[in-house]
Amino acid sequence: MFQTEGTILTNRRIKASYYHLCLEVPAVAGIAQPGQFIHIKCGDGFRHLLRRPVSIHGIDRSRGCLELLFEVKGSGTAWLAERKGGESLDLLGPLGNGFPIEPGYQNVLLVAGGIGIAPMFCLARELRLRQVEVIMLMGAKNKEWLLLEKELKDLGIVLHIATDDGSLGHHGFVTDILPHLVSQNTVDCLYACGPQGMLAGIGKMAPALDLSCYVSLEERMACGVGACRGCVVGIKDSAGNIGYKNVCSDGPVFAVEEVVF
């Protein structure tokens, strides 16, 4: 883990309020794993005082670069959207634990809702490098808010889509078609990232799906490194005892059966 400055190479709006930022930060890129995140200082430390966590969306070890994909939600991400190539970012990273990938996996299912695609795409690329077959189930408000369809297909990924308004793919939630997809395909493991409600839905159906499920969670963070205990999520251990774990340092990826939604 480092506190370091990265240099922005490019930062551009892709569509809707989604931005893609490419950052030169060799120390972090050299060791980053899909599922980890960086913690970015946004501004001069008066407004949006706290750092903002953003998942690692792409890792280019040879060029020492990271890609980020982010949605403008409030003042911190708005500040980030305004940054230009050449400017530098103060960041902590790589933080958290990546997605655990068992060497034996041959077929996996990724589920991404909204901006949840940011880390899932990173994972998808990693899995394809390892020649794992990937099915992606992706949800969005409507087809205008869908991201990376072409890139995913280019990676040889089978893509299923659900939109809230039915403007593309299934009309409804990803969780509506998830059980069917699992039953129709051989799946060794499921990874998911997206809105709280989607993950809770997966949590509920997980026992019935009967396969390893990992979810990447979000919580408001202060330190990002496990020091403040501010970002906790309810966790039940195998004995059923409930306690709290840090999303930042124990997660953000958790086995779904641990999480108390």
Partner: protein, 304 residues
């Protein structure tokens, strides 16, 4: 000219007056990747209780103007796990470790103190009697002069190491508490803990924090903290550790001038893990520029 950056708090020799505030630096190990812990004046760990504590339900954080609210309370693994899993790492460093002790009863405070008395690597106790996030115990001790002196007296009797009492800012006359705990045997006081605050999400019309209320920290509270430190430092003879919104050497110097013998950096560690080291460097620079030989000369040196 050699610069003397050291200060003395209740018999503890600190190589410089800068330390983290309890709860904002975990158990030290969380920040060891980012800074050389050996450079700090002391390390103050997160509140430790007798048994493990889960803390308050999430969400526990809310950002506010130049500050943040937290409702973490005393989430910690309990004293035994602290001794077994956390302390060994801290022993590797040449920095006094101040253990922040919390409890719901006088007995609990005393038991934790007694358990730690002879443990190698513990340099002093800071009694947290001022957490705004715990309903049983915490707040009552910090807002009743009588309870504050009782818990101090009991802990002072039990403690074989220097005893610091951490005061609450949520009182009418903080110096009355300082005087009471001084009389009861405290060897130093630290302040301020977080003023109590609240935030509401106007879309859901619910409190932002799972615990409804939380403690405010950060630059926003600095003027309040500085005032209370100044007020207490004038009242008591024991040393004062000042904290509340410190983010720069300028802030730290203000607290020293107001009468603090050392200062703690709290939420600003989250924003800039290197901040304490920057403060130490800038403090040295200030002393040199002002031809001051020893940082201790700043303590209480406010002119009228």
């Amino acid at each position: 000219m050699t610069l003397d950056m050291s200060v003395n708090i209740a018999g503890l020799h600190l190589k410089n007056p800068i330390m983290p505030a309890s709860g904002t630096f975990g158990f030290g190990e969380e920040y060891a990747d980012f800074i050389d812990l050996n450079r700090l004046g002391a390390i103050v760990v997160k509140s430790v209780t007798l048994a493990p504590r889960a803390g308050n339900p999430p969400p526990r954080l809310a950002e506010t103007a130049a500050g943040m609210l937290n409702s973490i309370a005393w989430q910690n693994p309990g004293i035994e796990v602290f001794i077994r899993d956390k302390l060994p790492f801290l022993r590797r460093f040449d920095v006094p470790v101040i253990v922040n002790v919390a409890g719901s009863s006088i007995e609990e405070y005393v038991e934790v103190v007694e358990r730690l008395n002879d443990i190698e690597g513990v340099a002093a106790f800071e009694l947290n009697i001022s957490c705004p996030n715990v309903h049983e115990g915490g707040v009552a001790f910090g807002t009743s002069v009588k309870l504050a002196s009782q818990v101090t007296a009991a802990a002072a009797q039990a403690a074989k190491l220097p005893l610091i009492i951490k005061l609450s800012p949520n009182v009418t006359a903080v110096e009355e508490f300082a005087l009471a705990v001084e009389a009861a045997g405290a060897q130093a006081v630290s302040l301020i803990n977080c003023p109590t605050g609240m935030a509401i999400d106007i879309q859901s019309r619910r409190p932002v924090l799972g615990n409804i209320v939380g403690g405010l920290s950060g630059p926003a509270i600095k003027p309040i903290a500085l005032y209370q430190v100044w007020r207490v430092a004038q009242a008591v003879k024991i040393p004062v550790i000042g904290m509340g919104g410190i983010a720069s050497a300028t802030d730290a110097i203000e607290f020293l001038l107001a009468g603090a013998s050392a200062v703690a950096v709290g939420m600003n560690n989250f924003i800039d893990p290197r901040n304490m080291l920057t403060i130490i460097d800038d403090l040295e620079r200030y002393l040199k520029e002002h031809r001051i030989d020893a940082v201790s000369e700043l303590i209480g040196a406010l002119r009228k």
